[in-house]
């Protein structure tokens, strides 16, 4: 059974929290949530009724969490966890079957010198490369994630986006990374964005009744404000996203710590309101182990330890993996080896 194939309704029930009392939010009662998507006006009222995000405060909090000092055993743990959370990505016009197959070998055995090194969570490719990736990965536990819906801009007609999605699912994609229509969101057509996510989620269905997991990419670098990030997070979760994802990696800025903080607060609050867990995936711009560890600290102290699992948190990255491997080797051997000792697939 692939790890991520739990349906949303099978997601773990909220467990006893380590803190006293659970947070119930007045605006987020279950009945209120069903109401929220009944019309464009209702959805707007709901999203604009969410508490605001103070930009300075959110950035200060993110910077504060980034000062945690993760050393020795904690660092070793974090590096292995981060490797298991990587969606190893190649999304280039110049991608070829050879390149993708190479990436798949790396995904399964990131460190050929150490069989104990865990494999990554998934490889992330364009739809036409899904079959090649699927074949290359064979029976391994590494998933194939495919971008879809006219990635990265999302500027295509709805039926083309849905066909793009179905094509990837039919080719065997375990996970679909869709992009939202940022134009519609920024012009306030929230219900349109919502309905498109619902439609793509339906297009993720397979004939056998199962479904590919849906990650919804916001392109937060284009949405720009933290208030927008909070609103789109709730919109996507209400529409049935399994994961919410920051960026395509094609727009700067891509993932940042404060944006991820706001998204982690959203999934935490969504679980409080509905009992359902949604995953978070920062993507783009995360290059070093040090960065990855900052994200893991933020997950731990914001959404909580339940999210410290590849089922619920991923890194969308290409160059991060080699730095994680280099640090892992350093932790194991006490020495730094050069970049030449790690493969460049």
């Amino acid at each position: 059974m692939p790890r991520l194939c739990l349906g949303r309704h099978d997601s773990p029930q909220p467990r006893a929290q380590t803190y006293a009392g659970s947070v119930t939010t007045s605006v987020h009662s279950a009945a209120g949530l069903a109401e929220a998507t009944s019309s464009d006006a209702a959805l707007r009222r709901f999203l604009h009724g969410l508490p605001g995000v103070d930009q300075v405060g959110a950035e200060v909090r993110a910077a504060g969490l980034a000062t945690r000092s993760i050393k020795t055993t904690a660092k070793a743990f974090a590096i292995d966890l981060a490797i298991r959370m990587v969606d190893l990505t190649t999304l280039e016009g110049m991608d070829t079957p050879g390149k993708v197959a190479g990436l798949c070998s790396k995904a399964m055995r990131p460190d050929p010198a150490d069989p104990a090194c865990p494999s990554v969570a998934a490889v992330c490719v364009y739809p036409d490369m899904v079959r090649i990736a699927k074949d290359a990965l064979g029976a391994s536990e590494v998933h194939v994630a495919s971008v879809a819906t006219a990635f990265p801009s999302g500027r295509a007609a709805r039926d083309i986006k849905l066909a793009d999605t179905q094509d990837a699912v039919e080719a065997g994609a375990d996970e679909i990374d869709m992009v939202i229509d940022r134009g519609a969101f920024l012009s306030g057509r929230y219900l349109e964005v919502f309905e498109e996510i619902v439609a793509v989620r339906e297009a993720c269905a397979r004939p056998d009744g199962s479904s590919a997991h849906l990650k919804v990419i916001f392109e937060t670098g284009e949405l720009q404000t933290y208030d927008n990030v909070r609103r789109i997070s709730w919109l996507a979760m209400l529409a049935g996203a399994h994961f919410i994802k920051t960026s395509t990696g094609k727009v700067q800025p891509a993932a940042t710590l404060p944006v991820t903080l706001v998204m982690l607060e959203a999934v935490r609050d969504f679980r409080e309101a509905t009992g359902q867990m949604v995953g978070v995936k920062p993507a783009g711009g995360i290059r070093t182990s040090k960065d990855a560890i900052k994200y893991l600290v933020m997950v731990n102290e914001t959404a909580g330890p339940d999210w410290l699992d590849p089922d619920w948190f991923r890194f969308g990255a290409s160059t991060l993996l080699n730095d994680l491997l280099m640090q892992r080797t350093k932790m194991r051997t006490g020495r730094y080896s050069g970049p030449d000792y790690f493969t460049l697939d």
Partner: protein, 486 residues
């Protein structure tokens, strides 16, 4: 390290202690008078300063007597008359810049020493206290040659010798608030650090030597309350500056009444942190935590009264409790510690006493589960709900990690409750509505009002209180006035 089972993954942060080896603590210290460390002359004797996190004795320091105070004031007077008041502002500025740079160079040493002697977490001494200390010296160094443009007269003159007494909550930062403007304006100083936290002031004395500051410009006398009393009452002291409790502030005001001395007092507080229903809630929770748990709540401007609008009170409290459960209490030198040790047994006893009174008066007490070390002085982060204006914990300064939560229904009620205190040092306002921030700030009787933030300090910003929180301003252009005759 990590266990994975049904209850999720546990990410334990391994201990990450800052090394103590950067500091070199002597077994005993003399008094810094006239540029040198001297053995006390009088019958004062000595006392021990301890690490409040472990109760380990760090060093023995001298207890300055009236004779020592007299020697120090004489040295300061000589330095004032012969050297410092005659020196050009530009030259004085050079010394202050040099001191500021040395503080930056030795910042790690100062931070570790501050955390050892005070009990505050290293992340605060490293990221807040010491950088601000350097910033205050840099800022006032810049004023030294521009005093005639400060707006305090066309040719402002220094006052003479300043007697300065500072508290234990921000030992080196309070020293900087006192010494930097005094020296920039051409005064010389005799400073008494708090009894429980003398070590960074003594290291600062060494820095004055390293900077070749002329002897007598800065004198540091360690001692207890009596030393401070003698210092502020000394006939040849022209200016008294004190930061500390309102009770001692009153005694000082009485002692200097009728004399020629100029006085500034920065005293206690019981700040209201007002959270309106449209506040950015996650950031407001961070602000509440920072307002009361920063520096173990040993902050005169701490946001010790949370005034939260009834319509969001449950949600804010639930989020606050969840956040408090992630606070890490323990070894001040561990880089991941959020809350360190209470500074002294005496202070711990006072926090316990007032908290017990809060309970006996009927307020509900809550703390997250946290393991406190067995040695040293510790108090868990604590909140009281169901607090009314009549409760002692809503009126008296606890000076510890204890928050009293009070609700309100309308902005007018918030203002009424916020101002219904003998203090008036600081306040906080949380709302997404700019006009409500201004409306509220205009009505708050408090020297500092923070909007959508709390406990932020900057050398360019004046700081000081209304009512029983004291008088005079420190910091910024306003802070110069306290050290100038105009």
């Amino acid at each position: 390290m990590a266990t994975k089972d049904k209850a999720g993954t546990v990410f334990d942060y391994a201990p990450a202690p800052e090394s103590r080896s950067v500091v070199d603590i002597a077994s005993s210290y003399g008094l810094f008078i006239d540029g040198e460390f001297k053995q006390p002359q009088g019958p004062g004797g000595s006392f021990k300063t301890i690490n409040p996190a472990t109760e380990e004795v760090l060093a023995e320091v001298s207890d300055a007597s009236a004779e020592d105070v007299d020697l120090a004031v004489k040295a300061a007077r000589r330095a004032y008359t012969r050297v410092w008041s005659k020196m050009s502002g530009r030259e004085r500025g050079k010394y202050l810049y040099r001191i500021a740079r040395i503080i930056q160079e030795r910042s790690r040493e100062l931070a570790v020493l501050e955390s050892l002697d005070n009990g505050k977490p290293i992340k605060e001494s490293r990221d807040v206290d010491i950088p601000l200390v350097a910033a205050y010296f840099f800022y006032y160094a810049g004023w030294a040659d521009k005093l005639e443009y400060a707006g305090w007269g066309p040719d402002p003159k220094p006052l003479g010798v300043a007697g300065q007494v500072i508290p234990w909550n921000f030992p080196l930062l309070m020293l900087a608030w006192k010494i930097a403007p005094a020296l920039a304006c051409g005064n010389t100083v005799v400073l008494k650090p708090a009894e429980t936290t003398p070590l960074t002031a003594l290291l600062f004395a060494e820095i004055c030597q390293q900077a070749d500051l002329p002897p007598g410009v800065v004198n540091i006398l360690t001692g207890a309350g009596e030393t401070g009393r003698v210092l502020v009452s000394h006939d040849d002291v022209d200016k008294v500056a004190f930061t500390g409790s309102t009770e001692v502030g009153r005694q000082i005001a009485k002692a200097v009444a009728g004399s020629k001395k100029k006085v500034t007092l920065e005293l206690g507080g019981k700040a209201a942190n007002i959270v309106y229903d449209d506040a950015p809630i996650d950031e407001a929770v961070e602000g509440i935590v920072n307002g009361i748990f920063f520096n173990q709540g040993h902050v005169c401007c701490a946001g010790s009264r949370l005034l939260v609008q009834e319509s969001v009170a449950d949600e804010v409290l639930a989020r606050l409790k969840r956040r408090m459960a992630t606070l890490r209490v323990g070894d001040p030198l561990d880089k991941n510690t959020d809350i360190g040790a209470i500074n002294s047994a005496e202070q711990l006893a006072r926090i316990r006493e007032l908290s017990d009174i809060g309970e006996s008066e009927g307020a509900d007490r809550w703390s997250p589960a946290c393991d406190l070390p067995t040695n040293g002085f510790w108090f868990p982060p604590t909140i009281f709900t169901g607090v009314s204006q009549a409760h002692r914990i809503a009126r008296e300064e606890i000076f510890g990690p204890v928050l009293s939560v009070i609700t309100f229904r309308t902005p007018a009620e918030a203002i009424e409750k916020a101002n219904n205190t003998p203090f008036g040092l600081s306040a906080g306002v949380w709302t997404d509505k700019g006009s409500l921030i201004l409306w509220t700030a205009n009505r708050l009787r408090a020297g500092v009002v923070w909007a959508n933030t709390f406990n932020k300090f900057d050398p360019t910003s004046p700081f000081g209180g209304y009512k029983e929180s004291g008088y005079g301003r420190e910091g910024g252009r306003h802070g110069l006035e306290a050290y100038l005759a105009n």
